[in-house]
Symmetry: C2
Subunit: 194 residues, 2 copies
DNA sequence: TGCTAAGTTGAGACAGTCTCAATATATTTC
DNA sequence: GAAATATATTGAGACTGTCTCAACTTAGCA
């Protein structure tokens, strides 16, 4: 069962709180350098802490990732809400897709985690991914109501497209990721003259 | 520098040839069970051979993968040639994309290898991937000449789309992979009325 | 039959994950 | 402020995996 992770607000002992923050800071650096599959040992080392401490704060890699991404994923949900205010439902969708792809590109290897976590209910990232998906759903609903997207497209389709494009970009280039995203979104439009 | 791998036809000693074949057979099973990131130790174990023997036949995981996929990738190139005979350039393209995606789905994790190998000239899989890409190029040229695909689409776009869709399918479902592929291909069509 | 090039072996150096009994420290209580 | 207690940290150790290479074995030839 996924926990929310040790909420950083919880009454923690002062040293525990300090190590928690140090670990997050180290993880941020190490993930940025080596991607989300980086060595957890190195993160502990760089945080100046024994590896057992890392495991006691973050039982799994995904739990660490969740804590590290919490704010960012919250921001993505907020973005979805804001985009609903745009006059154009079409621009809201492409804007959301771009924002979601930018998010999935923050660390190398992140797209895999985001994609598998939406399926895996036991993942520490599951809830956050679902919130993102829910945001996408609202954006998509409006786009479909406006007739700019085919009715049979699902939020999962958009989510998969965004992450698949981000993944492709990791292997090749940012430009390639953007091209794939464009093709995919374009292909979701209703057939003309229908 | 990528070698073609020990060509199985090379005058090898009988025991070497036998172990080579056993390793390939074991790799096929183990990759099928655990994906292309499976333990090489287990492959050697299952082939009834010391792990040093595996490394002497296949210096890298990619070299092993290349030997294992050689025939299949050759077949994909042949398929491209055959599809050029189809009356419909459109059907040839979708047919090729489906065949390429099926290929990328043979083992879990394969899409990553295919995608990174096309970029990495030192990969043992590079040449084979380039051959596949060349096949896609011919199919694409014809589709563009027939006006069923936009002129600015590249073979790399199609290659990336196919692998990205295959990757998404690994994380979710075969159906999702097919949907993504359809959206992408659809989005590569020329805008109507242009 | 024996020689030699070719091939195989598996221990060992290394890096990583994860656990848990022993230890240390912060906080609470009196 | 000292003792009691709850909370954290530590790092050795069990495990799995990658990859190398000196010592050994054997196939195939003369």
């Amino acid at each position: 069962m996924p926990t929310t992770g040790p909420a950083p607000q919880r009454k923690m002992r002062a040293d525990a709180r300090r190590n928690y923050e140090r670990l997050l800071a180290a993880a941020k650096d190490v993930f940025a350098e080596h991607g989300v599959e980086a060595s957890l040992e190195e993160i502990a080392r760089r945080a100046g802490v024994a590896n057992g401490t890392l495991y006691s704060h973050f039982p799994t890699r995904q739990a660490l990732l969740e804590a590290l991404l919490r704010d960012r994923m919250q921001a993505l949900s907020d973005t979805a809400r804001e985009l609903l205010d745009l006059p154009s439902a079409d621009e809201a969708l492409t804007g959301w897709a771009r924002a979601a792809m930018a998010h999935a590109t923050v660390y190398r290897g992140l797209a895999v985690s985001l994609m598998s976590s939406i399926q895996d209910e036991t993942s520490h990232l599951h809830a956050a991914c679902q919130a993102v998906l829910a945001g996408g759903q609202r954006i998509l609903d409006r786009a479909q109501a406006s007739g700019v997207v085919r009715g049979d497209v699902t939020a999962s389709d958009v989510y998969a497209l965004v992450n698949a494009a981000a993944w492709a970009g990791e292997q090749t280039s940012r430009a390639q990721a953007e091209r794939l995203l464009s093709f995919g979104l374009e292909g979701m439009r209703p057939p003309v003259g229908g």
